[in-house]
C-alpha cells in the first residue's frame, strides 16, 4: 500500500483535486467506515455524500457537483446482487452507462467521472480506490476552466 500524502504535503504540490463521492449507505459507506476503523489512510480530497442507494443517485446530483466546481465525481454502491433494495444498483448501472457516455460526449469524460462497486467488507478496496482516483485526477489537473458545467457567476 503506497504512502498516502497528508494535506500539508499535498499543498506544496499546488493542485488539490476536489472529489465528490456519492455513495450508497449500505455498502460503500459501510466500506468507507470500515477503512476508517481499520486505520486505513486514504487521500483526504474526497467529500463523501451518503444516499440510501445508488438507485437514488440522480444524474442531477452529478451535474450539480460539477456545477459547484468538483474536479471529479465518484458514484459507488453495492455489487450487483448485494443491493439492500434488491435492484437499485441494477437500475443505476443502466443509468450510469448511458449518462456516462453522454457526459463524455459533452466534455466530462473518464478522468472526471468514476463508477465503482464497493461492498461493506471492502474497506481496503475503498481506500485504494480513493487514492488511485486522486492520483489520476491530480495528473489530469484542475477541471476549471474547461468544466462545461461550472457555474461562473
Amino acid at each position: 500500500m503506497e504512502k498516502t500524502e497528508t494535506i500539508a504535503e499535498n499543498a506544496r504540490a499546488g493542485f488539490e483535486p476536489r472529489i465528490v463521492a456519492f455513495v450508497c449507505n449500505w455498502c460503500t459507506y459501510a466500506g468507507a467506515d470500515l477503512a476508517g476503523t481499520s486505520r486505513l489512510q486514504y487521500a483526504p480530497n474526497v467529500r463523501i455524500l451518503k444516499l440510501p442507494c445508488t438507485g437514488r443517485i440522480d444524474p442531477l446530483l452529478v451535474l450539480k457537483a460539477f456545477e459547484g466546481g468538483a474536479d471529479a465525481v465518484l458514484v459507488s454502491g453495492c455489487h450487483p446482487g448485494d443491493c439492500h433494495y434488491t435492484s437499485g444498483n441494477y437500475h443505476a448501472r443502466r443509468r450510469w452507462s448511458v449518462f456516462g457516455k453522454l457526459l463524455a460526449f459533452a466534455g466530462i469524460d473518464g478522468r472526471r467521472l468514476y463508477f465503482s462497486w464497493v461492498s461493506a467488507a471492502e474497506g481496503q478496496k475503498f481506500a485504494d480506490l480513493i487514492n488511485s482516483i486522486t492520483k489520476e485526477v491530480r495528473s489530469a489537473g484542475p477541471f476549471d476552466p474547461v468544466n462545461p458545467a461550472r457555474r461562473r457567476t
Binding site: L63, K64, W96, S97, V98, F99, A106
Partner: protein
C-alpha cells in the same frame, strides 16, 4: 389514388363517422409544412404529406385541448409512428384513443390502430437507414479531445435562450412539472448562463434515453440552431449497442432506464 388523396379521404371519413373527433395532420403554409388540427371533414383537403413534414405530431397528445377530443387520428410517418407506440407503452394513450394514418417512405398503409401500427413498423420499417451525415458529425465530435469537446458544447449551448421549443416539439416531453420548472430546489438554473444551459440540454437528452425515435423535431424547432440531434444520436447509439433497445416497435416495451437485465454490461465500473 395518390398518398395525399388517400390521407384526405381517410381523414374525412374518420371525422364524418365520428371515429375521430380531431385529425392531426400537416398543412401547406407559404411553401413550408405546419401542423393542423382538423375538426371538420370539409377541411380535409388542406392535408398534405411529404418529406418536409418534420414536426412530430405525437407531441400534441399531451395538450389538454387535444385529450378532451379523444379519439383522434394522427398522420404519421415511421418516426411519429414509433413515438406513438412509445407513448402507448408509457401509458400516455388510453386504449382506442388514437387511430394512425400510417404513411411510409412512398406507401400509404391506411388507418391503423396502435397494435397494427407496431406490427407494420416491425415488418416494414424495422431498421431505418441510419442518417450517415449525422453519424459522421457524431464521430467528428467524439474524436475531439476532452477540452475541445467541452469548448464545442459550451459554445453551442451559449446560444441557447432556454425557450424550451425543443421540449414542446418532443412527444417524449409530456411531464406536467418538467424538472426545469422545479425551484424547490432549483435543480437547473433558470439563467441562460453556461451552467444552466449545459444542465438543461444534457438532462433533456438523458431523459429521452431509450425513448427518442430520432425524428429530428427538436433540432428543427430550435430557433438558435443548436445541434441537439448530436446528443440524441450519441444516446441512441449507446442504448442500441449496450442494451439492444430500439424505441417504438413494441406496445409492451419496458422503459429502458426503468428496467434491467442481470447480464447488462458493467465493464466501465471499477
Amino acid at each position: 389514388m395518390s398518398i395525399v388523396d388517400a390521407i384526405r379521404a381517410d381523414a374525412a371519413g374518420l371525422l364524418q363517422t365520428g371515429r375521430a373527433k380531431l385529425v392531426l395532420g400537416y398543412r401547406n403554409r407559404q411553401g413550408r409544412r405546419a401542423p393542423i388540427l382538423l375538426a371538420d371533414a370539409a377541411g380535409a383537403d388542406q392535408l398534405v404529406y411529404d418529406a418536409e413534414c418534420r414536426q412530430n405530431l405525437a407531441a400534441y397528445l399531451r395538450k389538454p385541448e387535444v385529450r378532451q377530443q379523444f379519439p383522434v387520428a394522427v398522420v404519421a410517418g415511421p418516426p411519429v409512428m414509433r413515438s406513438l407506440v412509445m407513448l402507448s407503452a408509457e401509458s400516455q394513450i388510453p386504449a382506442g384513443a388514437v387511430t394512425v394514418l400510417a404513411v411510409g417512405e412512398n406507401e400509404y398503409h391506411g388507418a391503423l390502430d396502435l397494435a397494427a401500427t407496431a406490427q407494420l413498423l416491425r415488418e416494414k420499417y424495422a431498421d431505418p437507414a441510419p442518417d450517415e451525415e449525422l453519424l459522421r458529425r457524431v464521430r467528428e465530435v467524439a474524436a475531439m479531445s476532452e477540452e475541445e469537446r467541452a469548448a464545442f458544447w459550451t459554445e453551442q449551448f451559449s446560444k441557447c435562450t432556454r425557450c424550451h421549443a425543443c421540449r414542446s416539439a418532443c412527444p417524449g416531453c409530456y411531464c406536467q412539472w418538467c424538472i426545469s420548472k422545479r425551484n424547490v430546489p432549483q435543480w437547473i438554473s433558470t439563467a441562460d448562463l453556461s451552467h444552466g444551459t449545459f444542465a438543461w440540454n444534457i438532462t433533456r437528452a438523458f431523459h429521452h434515453a431509450g425513448r427518442c425515435t430520432l425524428c429530428g423535431a427538436c433540432e428543427a424547432a430550435c430557433p438558435q440552431g443548436l445541434p441537439l440531434m448530436l446528443l440524441n444520436a450519441c444516446v441512441a447509439e449507446c442504448v442500441e449497442k449496450e442494451f439492444g433497445h430500439r424505441t417504438g416497435y413494441d406496445l409492451e416495451e419496458k422503459p429502458l432506464i426503468g428496467s434491467w437485465r442481470p447480464e447488462d454490461d458493467d465493464g466501465f465500473v471499477r
